[in-house]
């Protein structure tokens, strides 16, 4: 390993990083700095009195501790539950693997209103679990009542984010050379010991990478907290929303945002540093070569058990959703799906709900191109170098995930207001906001893979007479392409399902699927409810299909390179 001579010079890295830096600078840092400035310097000169006063409020400490506790617990449990599934996808071939892999992304795209309502149905008093308990044990059966509790938030967080662990860690696992594990087994190591001493050290960077995304997502989670949590427990994100959108107390909002961002930056820098330290170069394998059918007996049962448990946990809320899509006012039927096609005035929409698919796909396509392109550049600059520059770039691109959506949205309003850059009410703000959220996923899918590419392969290529460019093309590119597709799939899915950020942008009457679902749910009546659930079902199918298609772009499968 040659740690002293990075594959890119600092100049090259900066050049590659320039477009993503400009993007994040213009559409994130500049707007956020603007809105924070209104809080810390309302009259134009620095007035920190109100900001520091807010920091001394005892309730702020309470909110911060609750937020961190909730995010930490959610991240750890998501990791615990996601790792076995990542292992199964990373190591084994089984019937329906491709479809199952695409399905893992589905929970991730569902709008919070939909997931919230599915979980209320599953964890509330009318839960099917309670119904089963009652039939078995009679009326005295203990009732499961989790709505309005931190436990409900954590469960919903796991449901949402387990896809991040499965896909980012599983995506890496697919490329680990199975021969080192086999060697360990041959030498007599147990499977647990093989995991601990062979696979785990190689996987750690990807695990860290995925876990930090989950942490950021849960630390800024908003809709789930409001819908499922108890009003007694406020998170930092909810409090920032209140101070900004309801009270317009910008000094307090700035105080809380600075706290949130500072915490996030510390965690990001630490995790980037650890990731660098833990990265081990290795011979990555095309994923097709690493997967095999599970052996009969214990291994087969374990794999089947993990898949079954994951399917139940991830599919149960989705099934609840489908059930409600089919349950119309006049019993079960396809009425909910039928009204997707109609321009029903009672729905108060300008077009049939199905028209939203076109807008959504268009935004998702732009986001995928934008985040995919910028992400590839940034990941190259980050992954091929080490040191502060690479860490700072990584933290900067991750930061939007850990920043309150209302702050970014209001920041857009006060900063992007001067022609020729008056984008405040432009439709382009939507794919731009989506790309800010999608970029970290592209980076996180690529950097661990880049870091793991063995320099000796490149050296061997140059010894054999290949130019550096050719060596990169032959060795790095095929592996990168796979990672880029995982990232692109995420970017597409993020855009299809994203709603929170666009909630705080004044926008022309756009019709993305989550917006239409939200509107339908805001209306009374079982009919609009069934239609909303039918549209959510369609969103799931569309996402799975799109992700399947994106990952197929590379032809007949992973074994092609």
């Amino acid at each position: 390993m040659d740690r002293d001579r990075p594959a890119l010079t600092r100049g090259q890295a900066l050049l590659l990083a320039a477009p993503p830096l400009a993007f994040v600078g213009l559409f994130f840092l500049w707007p956020v700095a603007h809105i924070l400035a209104l809080g810390v310097a309302p009259e134009g000169s620095l007035a920190l009195g109100d900001v520091t006063k807010a920091w001394q409020e005892p309730y702020v400490l309470e909110v911060v501790l609750f937020t961190i506790g909730l995010a930490t617990l959610s991240t750890l449990l998501t990791l615990l539950l996601g790792m076995p599934v990542a292992w199964v996808f990373g190591r084994f071939e089984f019937p329906g693997r491709r479809v199952a892999w695409a399905l893992t992304v589905v929970p991730f795209v569902l709008p919070t209103v939909v997931v919230g309502s599915a979980f209320l149905a599953l964890l509330g008093p009318r839960s099917p679990i309670n119904a089963v308990a009652e039939t078995l044990l009679g009326a005295a059966a203990p009732q499961l009542r989790l709505e309005g509790s931190a436990a409900a938030i954590v469960i919903a967080h796991i449901f949402y984010n387990v896809a991040v662990i499965i896909r980012l860690v599983g995506g890496m696992w697919m490329h680990l050379d199975p021969r080192s594990e086999e060697a360990a087994r041959v030498l007599g190591a147990s499977s647990w010991r093989t995991f601990r001493e062979v696979s785990w050290p190689l996987l750690r960077p990807a695990v860290l990478s995925a876990a930090s995304i989950v942490f950021l997502f849960t630390v800024t989670s908003f809709g789930v907290v409001l819908m499922l949590g108890s009003p007694r427990d406020t998170t930092l994100e909810v409090e920032i929303y209140r101070q900004t959108a309801i009270l317009l107390d910008l000094p307090t909002a700035a105080a809380l945002t600075i706290l949130q961002m500072a915490g996030v930056v510390v965690i990001l820098l630490a995790s980037a540093r650890m990731q660098e330290r833990l990265s081990l170069q290795q011979t990555l394998r095309p994923s097709g070569q690493a997967a095999r059918r599970p052996r009969r007996g214990r291994e087969g049962a374990l794999v089947a058990g993990i898949l079954l448990a994951a399917a139940i946990f991830m599919m149960l809320p989705l099934a609840a959703l489908l059930e409600r899509a089919l349950a119309g006012p006049e019993g079960y039927g396809l009425a909910g799906f039928g009204s997707l096609l109609t321009d029903e005035p009672r729905m108060r929409l300008a077009a049939p709900p199905i028209a939203a698919i076109v807008d959504s796909l268009l935004f998702a396509a732009i986001t995928t191109l934008l985040a995919g392109g910028l992400g590839l550049l940034a990941a190259t600059a980050i992954g091929y170098r080490r040191g502060w520059l690479s860490r700072a770039l990584d933290a900067l691109i991750m930061l939007p995930l850990g920043t309150s959506a209302v702050i970014v949205g209001f920041g857009f309003l006060v900063s992007l207001d001067t022609p020729p850059l008056d984008l405040r009410t432009s439709i382009l703000l939507i794919p731009i906001a989506h790309s800010l959220i999608a970029l970290p996923f592209v980076i996180r899918a690529l950097v661990p893979i880049i870091r793991a590419i063995d320099d000796r392969l490149r050296e061997a290529a140059s010894v054999l007479g290949a130019s550096p460019a050719r060596a990169w093309r032959e060795i790095d590119a095929p592996i990168l392409a796979r990672g880029a597709l995982v990232g692109a799939g995420f970017a597409f899915a993020v855009s299809l399902g994203e709603f929170g950020a666009t909630l705080f942008i004044a926008r022309p009457d756009t019709f993305t699927i989550p917006v239409v679902i939200y509107r339908l749910l805001g209306q009374p009546g079982a009919e609009s409810f069934a239609t909303a659930m039918a549209l959510a079902t369609l969103l799931m199918v569309l996402t799975a299909a799109a992700v399947l298609l994106i990952e197929r772009l590379r032809g007949s499968g992973p074994q092609t390179f």
Binding site: G124, A245, R473, L485, A506, P508
Partner: protein, 363 residues
């Protein structure tokens, strides 16, 4: 590894730059023509719950030869705050949906160009809350308690006749309210209790809420969570028979229910602790089309638009001379009195009241 020509397609840097260049270029082009700057379009900033039938909008567009662009900007509070932050370069020509709980803040920020619509002659004086005509009342709605008729049918539960009845142990654990910190009907109900009960330490609003807490009141984050999630009546899927909602909610239960001709709604609004939310429209200072903006305000107060409001947004039209649909007359409650506070008092007291309420009810 074989050298496949296709691999290059996905990783070439110049190719990934192309779409970005196109996008940024189009962003710049789009940026040069902000909404509302051209004379062919008038922009209306409003909240996410805004809805008017196409005919009403089309009539305005046809009469004045403009396109009306609707710009939803979050809930009412978020919308007002966005308008304040962009006061120097307004996003729209007209804003609609500022309610009396946010009115004082909007007026203090000097957002509006005064305009007195001739149609105000038909609007009751008590809805005209700004004597300087900076904002024009368009509609109003009353926040009142709603009950599940079925739960009260067999007489086991006493129907509350005033606020104090909610403290009856027989109604313990039966009421769900919204958190006033995150919900506008929640705030409205808190304001009604403050207006109705006053500051007296024994009988005032603080001791009332302490009593509600001891009597097991449930608190939900927003109207949807309370009504659909916790309330047992009508389209509610929860278990509690009393909820804070609107005087017009029973109408929606009929219109959207299985039988739009039903004689009785499954829910009923109670004439208890009602608070009146008045929604205003105003011309945003800085518009370059003040006449058209004024025409839009007139249009919102025109009899056809006013007549469309009830079934569009479940509100009452501001004009007194417009008939409401029969289904409204049959199922909506007209409270005998509403408990109101001055907009200036609301804005001055809101934060402290919410803080105190949180300390009393949630801690």
């Amino acid at each position: 590894m074989t050298n496949r020509p296709t691999t290059r397609r996905h990783i070439g840097r110049p190719r990934t730059l192309l779409p970005i260049t196109i996008l940024l270029a189009s962003a710049l082009l789009a940026g040069t023509a902000p909404a509302g700057a051209t004379d062919e379009a008038l922009t209306l900033m409003t909240h996410d719950s805004f809805y008017l039938p196409d005919e009403v909008i089309a009539a305005f567009e046809a009469e004045h030869g403009v396109t009306l662009e609707v710009l939803p900007a979050g809930d009412a509070g978020s919308m007002v705050n966005q308008a304040i932050l962009t006061a120097d370069r307004p996003l729209a020509d007209v804003i609609y949906g500022v309610d009396n709980t946010f009115l004082s803040r909007a007026l203090a920020a000097d957002l509006f160009e005064p305009y007195r619509s001739p149609a105000l002659a038909a609007v009751p004086a008590e809805l005209q809350l700004d004597e300087r005509d900076r904002v024009t009342p368009i509609d109003y709605a009353d926040v009142c308690l709603n009950v599940d008729r079925a739960a009260f049918a067999d007489g086991d539960l006493p129907l509350p006749g005033d606020l104090a009845d909610l403290l009856d142990p027989a109604l313990a654990g039966q009421l769900v309210v919204q958190n006033p910190a995150t919900s506008s009907p929640g705030l409205a109900f808190l304001l009604a209790t403050i207006a109705a009960l006053g500051e007296d330490p024994e009988t005032g609003w603080r001791s009332f809420w302490a009593g509600l807490r001891d009597n097991g009141v449930s608190v939900a984050a927003g109207w949807e969570e309370a009504y659909y999630g916790s309330f047992s009546g009508g389209s509610g899927e929860g278990e509690l028979p009393i909820v804070v909602s609107y005087a017009t909610s029973p109408v929606a239960e009929v219109v959207f229910g299985p039988d739009p001709e039903a004689d009785e709604s499954p829910t009923a609004a109670l004439d208890v602790g009602c608070f009146r939310q008045v929604e205003f429209a105003g011309i945003l200072r800085g518009t370059d089309q003040p006449e058209l903006a004024a025409a839009l305000i007139d249009h919102l107060l025109s009899p056809p638009a006013q007549a469309a409001l009830p079934l569009a947004m479940y509100v009452y039209p501001a004009r007194a001379d417009v008939e409401v649909p029969p289904v409204f007359a049959r199922h909506a409650l007209r409270p005998t009195r509403t408990w109101n506070l001055e907009p200036a008092a609301i804005d001055a007291g809101r934060e402290d009241w919410i803080r105190e309420w949180t300390a009393i009810v949630l801690r």
